[in-house]
Symmetry: C2
Protein backbone atom coordinates (compact mmCIF):
# COMPACT_ATOMS: atom_id res chain seq x y z
CA UNK A 1 0.00 0.00 0.00
CA UNK A 2 1.30 3.38 -1.04
CA UNK A 3 0.17 6.73 0.37
CA UNK A 4 0.54 9.95 -1.58
CA UNK A 5 0.05 13.59 -0.60
CA UNK A 6 -0.08 15.64 -3.79
CA UNK A 7 0.61 19.34 -3.63
CA UNK A 8 1.23 22.03 -6.21
CA UNK A 9 4.84 21.06 -6.78
CA UNK A 10 5.28 17.41 -5.80
CA UNK A 11 3.87 13.94 -5.22
CA UNK A 12 4.92 13.05 -1.65
CA UNK A 13 4.87 9.26 -1.28
CA UNK A 14 5.03 7.05 1.80
CA UNK A 15 5.44 3.30 1.40
CA UNK A 16 4.80 2.56 5.07
CA UNK A 17 8.33 3.24 6.23
CA UNK A 18 10.14 5.67 3.97
CA UNK A 19 8.83 8.76 2.27
CA UNK A 20 10.09 10.36 -0.93
CA UNK A 21 9.04 13.05 -3.38
CA UNK A 22 8.52 13.15 -7.15
CA UNK A 23 8.15 16.40 -9.02
CA UNK A 24 4.72 17.19 -10.49
CA UNK A 25 6.54 18.21 -13.68
CA UNK A 26 8.30 14.86 -14.28
CA UNK A 27 6.25 12.13 -12.64
CA UNK A 28 3.60 10.26 -14.63
CA UNK A 29 1.08 8.60 -12.25
CA UNK A 30 0.14 6.04 -14.96
CA UNK A 31 3.51 4.38 -14.47
CA UNK A 32 2.44 3.06 -11.05
CA UNK A 33 0.50 -0.22 -11.01
CA UNK A 34 0.04 -0.73 -7.26
CA UNK A 35 -2.79 0.68 -5.19
CA UNK A 36 -2.20 4.28 -4.08
CA UNK A 37 -4.34 6.13 -1.54
CA UNK A 38 -3.98 9.84 -2.11
CA UNK A 39 -5.08 13.33 -1.25
CA UNK A 40 -4.58 16.11 -3.76
CA UNK A 41 -4.85 19.91 -3.65
CA UNK A 42 -3.72 20.24 -7.27
CA UNK A 43 -6.79 20.45 -9.56
CA UNK A 44 -4.92 19.44 -12.74
CA UNK A 45 -3.41 16.33 -11.18
CA UNK A 46 -6.78 15.47 -9.67
CA UNK A 47 -8.34 15.37 -13.15
CA UNK A 48 -5.44 13.25 -14.38
CA UNK A 49 -5.94 10.69 -11.59
CA UNK A 50 -9.71 10.27 -11.86
CA UNK A 51 -9.66 7.60 -14.62
CA UNK A 52 -6.88 5.59 -12.92
CA UNK A 53 -8.57 2.89 -10.84
CA UNK A 54 -5.52 2.07 -8.70
CA UNK A 55 -5.32 5.70 -7.48
CA UNK A 56 -7.94 6.06 -4.73
CA UNK A 57 -8.97 9.51 -3.57
CA UNK A 58 -9.22 9.53 0.22
CA UNK A 59 -11.19 12.79 0.22
CA UNK A 60 -14.28 10.66 -0.55
CA UNK A 61 -14.10 8.97 2.83
CA UNK A 62 -14.00 12.03 5.08
CA UNK A 63 -16.84 13.09 7.35
CA UNK A 64 -17.02 16.79 6.47
CA UNK A 65 -19.51 17.70 9.21
CA UNK A 66 -17.04 19.74 11.26
CA UNK A 67 -15.03 21.27 8.41
CA UNK A 68 -15.92 24.04 6.01
CA UNK A 69 -16.40 23.71 2.24
CA UNK A 70 -13.36 25.66 0.99
CA UNK A 71 -10.96 24.12 3.54
CA UNK A 72 -8.03 22.35 1.86
CA UNK A 73 -7.98 18.54 2.05
CA UNK A 74 -4.42 18.66 3.40
CA UNK A 75 -5.55 20.75 6.39
CA UNK A 76 -8.47 18.39 6.98
CA UNK A 77 -6.26 15.28 6.89
CA UNK A 78 -3.76 16.91 9.26
CA UNK A 79 -6.63 17.60 11.68
CA UNK A 80 -7.75 13.98 11.39
CA UNK A 81 -4.31 12.88 12.59
CA UNK A 82 -4.53 14.60 15.97
CA UNK A 83 -6.88 14.14 18.94
CA UNK A 84 -6.04 17.32 20.85
CA UNK A 85 -3.71 20.06 19.73
CA UNK A 86 -2.73 22.83 17.36
CA UNK A 87 -1.42 21.84 13.96
CA UNK A 88 0.83 24.24 12.09
CA UNK A 89 1.44 23.35 8.46
CA UNK A 90 4.16 25.64 7.14
CA UNK A 91 4.11 25.81 3.37
CA UNK A 92 3.27 28.58 0.88
CA UNK A 93 0.78 29.58 3.58
CA UNK A 94 1.09 28.73 7.27
CA UNK A 95 -2.17 27.16 8.36
CA UNK A 96 -2.92 26.95 12.07
CA UNK A 97 -5.72 24.58 13.04
CA UNK A 98 -7.12 23.53 16.40
CA UNK A 99 -8.53 20.10 17.21
CA UNK A 100 -10.26 19.39 20.53
CA UNK A 101 -11.37 15.86 21.44
CA UNK A 102 -10.92 14.83 17.82
CA UNK A 103 -13.12 17.65 16.51
CA UNK A 104 -11.85 20.56 14.37
CA UNK A 105 -12.70 23.75 16.21
CA UNK A 106 -11.42 26.28 13.67
CA UNK A 107 -8.24 27.54 12.17
CA UNK A 108 -6.57 30.39 10.37
CA UNK A 109 -4.13 31.20 7.60
CA UNK A 110 -0.92 33.17 8.05
CA UNK A 111 1.41 33.94 5.13
CA UNK A 112 4.24 31.47 4.51
CA UNK A 113 7.91 32.40 4.81
CA UNK A 114 8.42 33.24 1.12
CA UNK A 115 5.11 35.07 0.75
CA UNK A 116 5.88 37.22 3.80
CA UNK A 117 9.39 37.99 2.56
CA UNK A 118 7.92 39.24 -0.74
CA UNK A 119 5.24 41.15 1.13
CA UNK A 120 7.85 43.22 2.99
CA UNK A 121 9.83 43.75 -0.22
CA UNK A 122 6.68 45.04 -1.93
CA UNK A 123 6.07 47.57 0.85
CA UNK A 124 9.51 49.13 0.48
CA UNK A 125 12.93 48.33 -0.93
CA UNK A 126 14.21 49.39 2.51
CA UNK A 127 12.66 46.16 3.84
CA UNK A 128 14.45 43.83 1.41
CA UNK A 129 16.10 41.64 4.03
CA UNK A 130 15.99 37.88 4.46
CA UNK A 131 14.54 36.71 7.76
CA UNK A 132 16.93 35.96 10.60
CA UNK A 133 15.56 32.72 12.06
CA UNK A 134 18.16 32.84 14.85
CA UNK A 135 16.65 36.04 16.27
CA UNK A 136 15.91 36.11 20.00
CA UNK A 137 12.21 37.03 20.09
CA UNK A 138 12.40 38.04 23.75
CA UNK A 139 14.30 41.20 22.82
CA UNK A 140 12.60 44.08 20.99
CA UNK A 141 14.40 44.71 17.68
CA UNK A 142 16.60 47.69 16.96
CA UNK A 143 17.46 47.18 13.30
CA UNK A 144 15.44 46.70 10.10
CA UNK A 145 16.21 43.02 9.48
CA UNK A 146 15.27 42.09 13.04
CA UNK A 147 12.23 44.39 12.88
CA UNK A 148 10.70 42.45 9.96
CA UNK A 149 11.80 39.07 11.32
CA UNK A 150 10.18 39.82 14.66
CA UNK A 151 7.13 41.24 12.84
CA UNK A 152 6.73 37.99 10.95
CA UNK A 153 7.49 35.48 13.71
CA UNK A 154 6.59 36.95 17.10
CA UNK A 155 2.89 37.73 16.45
CA UNK A 156 2.41 34.15 15.18
CA UNK A 157 4.27 32.74 18.19
CA UNK A 158 2.20 34.88 20.60
CA UNK A 159 -1.11 33.79 19.09
CA UNK A 160 -0.19 30.11 19.01
CA UNK A 161 1.14 30.12 22.58
CA UNK A 162 -2.05 31.78 23.85
CA UNK A 163 -3.99 28.54 23.25
CA UNK A 164 -1.72 26.58 25.60
CA UNK A 165 -2.17 23.32 23.70
CA UNK A 166 0.12 20.62 22.33
CA UNK A 167 1.67 21.76 19.09
CA UNK A 168 2.29 19.71 15.94
CA UNK A 169 4.49 21.20 13.25
CA UNK A 170 4.57 19.92 9.68
CA UNK A 171 5.07 21.11 6.09
CA UNK A 172 8.08 22.00 3.95
CA UNK A 173 9.07 24.99 6.08
CA UNK A 174 8.52 23.28 9.45
CA UNK A 175 12.22 23.26 10.25
CA UNK A 176 12.59 26.96 9.43
CA UNK A 177 10.04 28.05 12.01
CA UNK A 178 10.75 25.25 14.52
CA UNK A 179 13.01 27.48 16.59
CA UNK A 180 10.13 29.71 17.66
CA UNK A 181 8.17 26.65 18.85
CA UNK A 182 10.73 24.65 20.86
CA UNK A 183 8.07 22.41 22.45
CA UNK A 184 6.42 21.42 19.15
CA UNK A 185 6.32 17.86 17.84
CA UNK A 186 7.91 18.23 14.41
CA UNK A 187 6.54 15.60 12.09
CA UNK A 188 6.70 15.79 8.33
CA UNK A 189 4.69 12.57 8.11
CA UNK A 190 1.70 13.96 10.01
CA UNK A 191 -0.53 13.85 6.93
CA UNK A 192 0.31 10.18 6.39
CA UNK A 193 -0.92 9.31 9.91
CA UNK A 194 -4.18 11.09 9.10
CA UNK A 195 -4.46 9.20 5.81
CA UNK A 196 -3.89 5.85 7.55
CA UNK A 197 -6.61 6.71 10.07
CA UNK A 198 -9.10 7.40 7.25
CA UNK A 199 -8.16 4.12 5.52
CA UNK A 200 -8.68 2.12 8.72
CA UNK A 201 -11.93 3.87 9.62
CA UNK A 202 -13.35 3.24 6.12
CA UNK A 203 -12.03 -0.38 6.07
CA UNK A 204 -10.27 0.27 2.80
CA UNK A 205 -7.62 -2.37 3.37
CA UNK B 1 4.02 78.22 12.81
CA UNK B 2 3.15 75.40 10.51
CA UNK B 3 4.02 71.72 11.07
CA UNK B 4 4.26 69.25 8.21
CA UNK B 5 4.63 65.48 8.13
CA UNK B 6 5.63 64.47 4.60
CA UNK B 7 5.03 60.92 3.46
CA UNK B 8 5.17 59.16 0.12
CA UNK B 9 1.77 60.43 -1.00
CA UNK B 10 0.99 63.63 0.90
CA UNK B 11 2.08 66.69 2.84
CA UNK B 12 0.16 66.51 6.14
CA UNK B 13 -0.01 70.01 7.63
CA UNK B 14 -1.01 71.19 11.08
CA UNK B 15 -1.47 74.90 11.77
CA UNK B 16 -1.78 74.46 15.52
CA UNK B 17 -5.46 73.60 15.51
CA UNK B 18 -6.56 72.07 12.25
CA UNK B 19 -4.76 69.58 10.07
CA UNK B 20 -5.11 69.09 6.32
CA UNK B 21 -3.39 67.21 3.53
CA UNK B 22 -1.96 68.20 0.15
CA UNK B 23 -1.01 65.67 -2.47
CA UNK B 24 2.68 65.22 -3.21
CA UNK B 25 1.76 65.30 -6.91
CA UNK B 26 0.09 68.74 -6.88
CA UNK B 27 1.56 70.75 -4.04
CA UNK B 28 4.54 73.03 -4.65
CA UNK B 29 6.33 73.77 -1.35
CA UNK B 30 7.82 76.98 -2.82
CA UNK B 31 4.36 78.58 -2.71
CA UNK B 32 4.51 78.74 1.10
CA UNK B 33 6.24 81.78 2.61
CA UNK B 34 5.76 81.11 6.33
CA UNK B 35 8.04 79.02 8.50
CA UNK B 36 7.32 75.28 8.28
CA UNK B 37 8.84 72.67 10.60
CA UNK B 38 8.77 69.34 8.84
CA UNK B 39 9.75 65.70 8.88
CA UNK B 40 9.99 63.83 5.60
CA UNK B 41 10.35 60.16 4.62
CA UNK B 42 10.15 60.98 0.90
CA UNK B 43 13.72 61.36 -0.51
CA UNK B 44 12.64 63.34 -3.61
CA UNK B 45 10.69 65.90 -1.60
CA UNK B 46 13.55 66.12 0.89
CA UNK B 47 15.92 67.21 -1.90
CA UNK B 48 13.34 69.71 -3.11
CA UNK B 49 13.04 71.28 0.35
CA UNK B 50 16.73 71.63 1.15
CA UNK B 51 17.28 74.98 -0.58
CA UNK B 52 14.09 76.50 0.90
CA UNK B 53 15.12 78.39 4.04
CA UNK B 54 11.60 78.65 5.52
CA UNK B 55 11.24 74.82 5.50
CA UNK B 56 13.11 73.54 8.58
CA UNK B 57 13.94 69.86 8.85
CA UNK B 58 13.24 68.69 12.42
CA UNK B 59 15.26 65.51 11.90
CA UNK B 60 18.37 67.64 12.59
CA UNK B 61 17.31 68.25 16.18
CA UNK B 62 16.76 64.67 17.30
CA UNK B 63 18.99 62.86 19.78
CA UNK B 64 19.51 59.59 17.88
CA UNK B 65 21.29 57.79 20.73
CA UNK B 66 18.47 55.34 21.39
CA UNK B 67 17.28 54.83 17.83
CA UNK B 68 18.83 52.87 14.97
CA UNK B 69 20.21 54.34 11.72
CA UNK B 70 17.65 52.95 9.24
CA UNK B 71 14.65 53.75 11.45
CA UNK B 72 12.15 56.07 9.73
CA UNK B 73 11.93 59.63 11.05
CA UNK B 74 8.14 59.26 11.38
CA UNK B 75 8.58 56.32 13.78
CA UNK B 76 11.18 58.27 15.76
CA UNK B 77 8.95 61.35 16.07
CA UNK B 78 6.00 59.18 17.15
CA UNK B 79 8.22 57.68 19.87
CA UNK B 80 9.24 61.17 20.98
CA UNK B 81 5.57 62.01 21.56
CA UNK B 82 5.02 59.31 24.22
CA UNK B 83 6.54 58.77 27.67
CA UNK B 84 5.40 55.18 28.26
CA UNK B 85 3.51 53.01 25.83
CA UNK B 86 3.24 51.12 22.58
CA UNK B 87 2.77 53.15 19.43
CA UNK B 88 1.13 51.52 16.43
CA UNK B 89 1.39 53.50 13.22
CA UNK B 90 -0.83 51.82 10.63
CA UNK B 91 0.14 52.79 7.12
CA UNK B 92 1.65 50.88 4.20
CA UNK B 93 3.44 49.00 7.00
CA UNK B 94 2.21 48.72 10.56
CA UNK B 95 5.05 49.77 12.84
CA UNK B 96 4.87 48.80 16.50
CA UNK B 97 7.26 50.66 18.80
CA UNK B 98 7.76 50.58 22.54
CA UNK B 99 8.79 53.54 24.68
CA UNK B 100 9.63 53.16 28.37
CA UNK B 101 10.35 56.18 30.55
CA UNK B 102 10.76 58.28 27.43
CA UNK B 103 13.31 55.90 25.89
CA UNK B 104 12.72 53.83 22.72
CA UNK B 105 13.20 50.20 23.67
CA UNK B 106 12.70 48.61 20.24
CA UNK B 107 10.02 47.99 17.69
CA UNK B 108 8.94 45.89 14.78
CA UNK B 109 7.29 46.07 11.38
CA UNK B 110 4.15 44.18 10.41
CA UNK B 111 2.62 44.42 6.93
CA UNK B 112 -0.08 47.07 6.44
CA UNK B 113 -3.67 46.22 5.53
CA UNK B 114 -3.23 46.57 1.76
CA UNK B 115 0.15 44.81 1.67
CA UNK B 116 -1.25 41.87 3.63
CA UNK B 117 -4.33 41.63 1.41
CA UNK B 118 -2.06 41.41 -1.65
CA UNK B 119 0.16 38.92 0.15
CA UNK B 120 -2.74 36.47 0.60
CA UNK B 121 -3.86 37.02 -3.01
CA UNK B 122 -0.34 36.20 -4.22
CA UNK B 123 -0.32 32.91 -2.29
CA UNK B 124 -3.51 31.66 -3.93
CA UNK B 125 -6.52 32.99 -5.82
CA UNK B 126 -8.54 30.97 -3.28
CA UNK B 127 -7.50 33.59 -0.69
CA UNK B 128 -8.73 36.62 -2.66
CA UNK B 129 -11.05 37.97 0.01
CA UNK B 130 -11.20 41.41 1.58
CA UNK B 131 -10.63 41.47 5.34
CA UNK B 132 -13.67 41.43 7.60
CA UNK B 133 -12.82 44.02 10.27
CA UNK B 134 -16.01 43.16 12.18
CA UNK B 135 -14.77 39.63 12.87
CA UNK B 136 -14.95 38.39 16.47
CA UNK B 137 -11.36 37.35 17.17
CA UNK B 138 -12.41 35.29 20.19
CA UNK B 139 -13.88 32.63 17.90
CA UNK B 140 -11.69 30.38 15.76
CA UNK B 141 -12.61 30.84 12.07
CA UNK B 142 -14.44 28.30 9.97
CA UNK B 143 -14.41 29.93 6.54
CA UNK B 144 -11.68 31.28 4.24
CA UNK B 145 -12.44 35.00 4.60
CA UNK B 146 -12.41 34.78 8.38
CA UNK B 147 -9.33 32.52 8.28
CA UNK B 148 -7.23 35.19 6.54
CA UNK B 149 -8.76 38.06 8.56
CA UNK B 150 -7.97 36.27 11.82
CA UNK B 151 -4.51 35.33 10.45
CA UNK B 152 -3.79 39.00 9.79
CA UNK B 153 -5.30 40.58 12.91
CA UNK B 154 -5.19 38.11 15.78
CA UNK B 155 -1.41 37.43 15.86
CA UNK B 156 -0.79 41.21 15.89
CA UNK B 157 -3.37 41.70 18.63
CA UNK B 158 -1.86 38.87 20.71
CA UNK B 159 1.67 40.23 20.45
CA UNK B 160 0.64 43.80 21.26
CA UNK B 161 -1.51 42.76 24.24
CA UNK B 162 1.34 40.66 25.66
CA UNK B 163 3.24 43.85 26.57
CA UNK B 164 0.37 45.12 28.78
CA UNK B 165 1.17 48.75 28.12
CA UNK B 166 -0.82 51.83 27.12
CA UNK B 167 -1.49 51.79 23.42
CA UNK B 168 -1.40 54.73 21.00
CA UNK B 169 -2.81 54.21 17.53
CA UNK B 170 -2.07 56.51 14.60
CA UNK B 171 -1.64 56.48 10.81
CA UNK B 172 -4.00 56.40 7.84
CA UNK B 173 -5.37 52.94 8.67
CA UNK B 174 -5.71 53.54 12.43
CA UNK B 175 -9.51 53.47 12.27
CA UNK B 176 -9.52 50.19 10.31
CA UNK B 177 -7.63 48.29 12.98
CA UNK B 178 -9.03 50.22 15.96
CA UNK B 179 -11.66 47.56 16.65
CA UNK B 180 -9.04 45.00 17.66
CA UNK B 181 -7.54 47.47 20.14
CA UNK B 182 -10.59 48.86 21.97
CA UNK B 183 -8.48 50.43 24.76
CA UNK B 184 -6.12 52.29 22.42
CA UNK B 185 -5.83 56.06 22.32
CA UNK B 186 -6.51 56.83 18.66
CA UNK B 187 -4.73 59.97 17.64
CA UNK B 188 -3.97 60.94 14.08
CA UNK B 189 -2.08 64.00 15.35
CA UNK B 190 0.44 61.97 17.40
CA UNK B 191 3.33 62.93 15.13
CA UNK B 192 2.51 66.61 15.53
CA UNK B 193 2.81 66.33 19.34
CA UNK B 194 6.22 64.74 18.85
CA UNK B 195 7.24 67.53 16.47
CA UNK B 196 6.13 70.21 18.94
CA UNK B 197 8.18 68.54 21.67
CA UNK B 198 11.30 68.63 19.48
CA UNK B 199 10.69 72.30 18.64
CA UNK B 200 10.33 73.23 22.33
CA UNK B 201 13.33 71.17 23.41
CA UNK B 202 15.54 72.75 20.73
CA UNK B 203 14.15 76.27 21.47
CA UNK B 204 13.25 76.72 17.81
CA UNK B 205 10.44 79.16 18.51
Amino acid sequence: MLLCDIGNTSFHFCDGQDSYKKSVKDFDPKTLQEEVFYICVNPQIKTLLEPLSNWRDLSRFIDYTNYYPSMGIDRIIACESVENGIIIDAGSAITVDIVKEGVFSGGYIYPGTEAMQKCYQNISSALEYSFNYELDLDIMPKNSQDAITYGFLKPLQSEVRSHQMNLYLTGGDAKKIAKIFPDAHIDEALLFYGMKKIIQRANLC
